[in-house]
Symmetry: C2
Subunit: 307 residues, 2 copies
Amino acid sequence: MKRYALAIHGGAGLIRRHGLTPEREAACERSLRRILEQGEGLLAAGAAAVDAVEACVIALEDDPLFNAGRGAVFNGRGEIELDAAIMDGRDRGAGAVAMVRTLKNPVRAARAVMTDSPHVLLVGAGAERFGSARGLEQVEPGWFATEERRAQLERARAQDMVLLDHDAEELDVYGTVGAVACDTHGDVAAASSTGGMVNKRPGRVGDTPLIGAGTYAWNETAAIAGTGHGEPFIRLGACGRVSALVELAGLSLDEAAERVIADLEALEGRGGIIAVDRTYALALPFNTGGMFRGAVSHREPAFVAIW
Amino acid sequence: MKRYALAIHGGAGLIRRHGLTPEREAACERSLRRILEQGEGLLAAGAAAVDAVEACVIALEDDPLFNAGRGAVFNGRGEIELDAAIMDGRDRGAGAVAMVRTLKNPVRAARAVMTDSPHVLLVGAGAERFGSARGLEQVEPGWFATEERRAQLERARAQDMVLLDHDAEELDVYGTVGAVACDTHGDVAAASSTGGMVNKRPGRVGDTPLIGAGTYAWNETAAIAGTGHGEPFIRLGACGRVSALVELAGLSLDEAAERVIADLEALEGRGGIIAVDRTYALALPFNTGGMFRGAVSHREPAFVAIW
């Protein structure tokens, strides 16, 4: 039997049911299920974990429902700045981009940084030139914008608040997308992508593109992607800490992921984690009101959930 | 008796003796000793660790001998892009800036991000506006440039190489500066600053401003600053890993630092680490030909060394 495991997320936050219409909730669940099934198909056909997580994050970026790629939130200057990262557990190769504005799929650029450059993190115009030189699709910055996000920025400005995607009065989502997988070879990989926080200070980079903070993968331990209030994730090194707890403290994946959520709380951090190890164990803890998430493995049928 | 411990570094690399003139070697040692004594004076007078490491890094940034602040190396477009980070072990507060071009002392901007913003990492023009709004000194980008660094860029371009400060034919230094301290209260802190690699791709951000990669501090474990080829430091989460090895694997500071140097080698990483814990233990391992370094504590007189 082909063995595989996959988890994806579309952000975690203080989601309030009254802010999420039944229609939008159903649409988010449909998107998550479609993307999960797409990823499962790849893994069942023998795809490498790194290819499966990249494909899932591309699909999440392209879906305007989630805060990454198209449908990303606006910063305080009314611009969209996108961050993404990918890591391959086989050799701990990693690539990331931050503050890109024209690359249609930031996670593809992160993959190119990992594969085709000696670097791990490229930022801003340098990242865009790198991606463009490798033939990655570029779009006008307006391509990423949606009417809903613009209205959200106006509400945030009116309240002078820094919102994390659908924060505050409506959904309080800490918007990120991510995927983790273990493939038929027992190799793991993780990928993440985000538009950051609504009305954020231009130039603010959160945990998503920072290896060890919002994204980590190592075959010896696990593949992990985080979503939530980025700064506590950075200060804790949250995703790398899940790996360290498995490696050094002998915790199970579940225990390690739960422990990191508790450690985040000690830093007043809120969010969630998705993780998978090479035994195809999955963990998806969060301490927010909800997390858009889905998981599937050769052992368990696909499920998607928000609350 | 006042108890304190302090270590500083001015970069590690494949330093070849024949590339470092006796005059420059002596000048570097004099600078390190002067800055170490300045930091020791602060700590002996009761300064907080975070103030002492900031002061040491400011002095290292201002010294044109080291690849940070004035005297930083040029990237492939003939520009200077500066990164810095600081972390306070008391509350794991952290601040960092990357790709700044006009802030005279990037570590001051990192401190301001930690103290005066809800963020950890600000990049580029957004970081410069933030620093400027807080009254931090700005200079023309030309202020950072030195004739020696310009000549080095020309040699690197001629060889089509990405050099890490005095790399290759001369010194092979992976240029960064950093400081770690434990103060009279037993609190620890770490700070780092760099100009990155000679002839680097514009937009490349290394480990220095990434919390957990090139800089980390937590009272429960240690304060750590790294210097070397940044990408393996990022993939390993090197400085956070020293902390995790102390916390989770029960290693001594010395053992943890040595173990991380060995782990870096497994990723073909070269560089060094300076670390201090709240028992005033110090560790300064490196796997390069040399590391510009110095350390002092209430127990041991100041020493500076390169080889």
